[in-house]
Symmetry: C2
Subunit: 222 residues, 2 copies
Amino acid sequence: MKEYKVIEVKRSIFEDNDKDAAKLREELKQQKIFLLNLMSSPGAGKTTLIKRTITMLKEELKIGVMEADIDSDVDAQAIADTGARAIQIHTGGMCHLDADMTRQGIKEFGVQDLDIVILENVGNLVCPAEFDTGSSKNVMILSVPEGHDKPLKYPLMFSVCDVVLINKTDVLTYFDFDVEKCKEYIHIRNPKAKVMFVSSKTGEGFDEWVDWLRKETADWVQ
Amino acid sequence: MKEYKVIEVKRSIFEDNDKDAAKLREELKQQKIFLLNLMSSPGAGKTTLIKRTITMLKEELKIGVMEADIDSDVDAQAIADTGARAIQIHTGGMCHLDADMTRQGIKEFGVQDLDIVILENVGNLVCPAEFDTGSSKNVMILSVPEGHDKPLKYPLMFSVCDVVLINKTDVLTYFDFDVEKCKEYIHIRNPKAKVMFVSSKTGEGFDEWVDWLRKETADWVQ
């Protein structure tokens, strides 16, 4: 049982979240810290993806994880068990994090010794997309069992993400998931989105994903 | 290609949603209409469950479906293709429906000839739980690929539901889903919740679910 802090963040007092997010992003850039905002539906596999990512990168980069949930500490516990630093953020019922809430988490966490901070946002395809957290990049996971039509139904989420990770490819054969249609729908929403296919369970596709993260982090701190 | 209306609902002007919801519920009871509010994460299988439910009950009960989404009409189209009456509600980016938005949908839909109206809420485990829609009963779907820990992370959603349907049981063997732990976690949040196991794909467990819906509808209109 590894240790991790649990903090309760307060509702933001800032009216202009975009301005506050830009400020936080700049502060983190000065400190050479890459903040990855990871979003998805509940159960799409954010925590498992983070665990495997840490395992693959831990010899070369120091990674810390901020787990945002309405309640429970199961995710922070899972991350702490890998040996990585973790903090659990409770949102007090709120469906997303904004820049000020992210800053509260970062302050409590202490990030000076880290290269990458992964923010696991609340599992939700609607609200988190509306609030810039101050992240360097936004990444989302769409898992195969959710279906290929999600970009049609949750347009904003797909528009704000730099990378869409299609996760759980190990069960592709058990679901009616049309890979080509999915890519087409994502690119309707966001022509620039990179689409990668991964399985956090088997590790399939992780070389491409980890290469991307490594390169973006290197570019960020230059 | 069957026909269905698409309407854009407006942000509610009522301050007291609970009061407004109680009023709508009473109005529907007077009209002998059972309103089922169906909630889940994106991709848990709400639309497929509704389609099979309609197929099993269509000889005995008149069912209409109100599909709420931020964007797209794919769900209303899927329902209309079964021959059931459907309407697509666009929430204008909002993450939930409240009682007034539900009333706007009902008014446009016209429900006088129906026994059951199924409201497919926005795919989201957070926000829809916070707003009483005026429904007779709340039902949620948790799908197997999402994992058994969701009641720990999204407490309110599990607290407000009369029935939790564990869907996609046909893929149970491909996921690390602990059935007993899931039931235990649900009952921590809500000791009265009925838990049923179904597969909308194969029909497994649907007799129990349809029996429940039939009985609740009969009780409601008495």
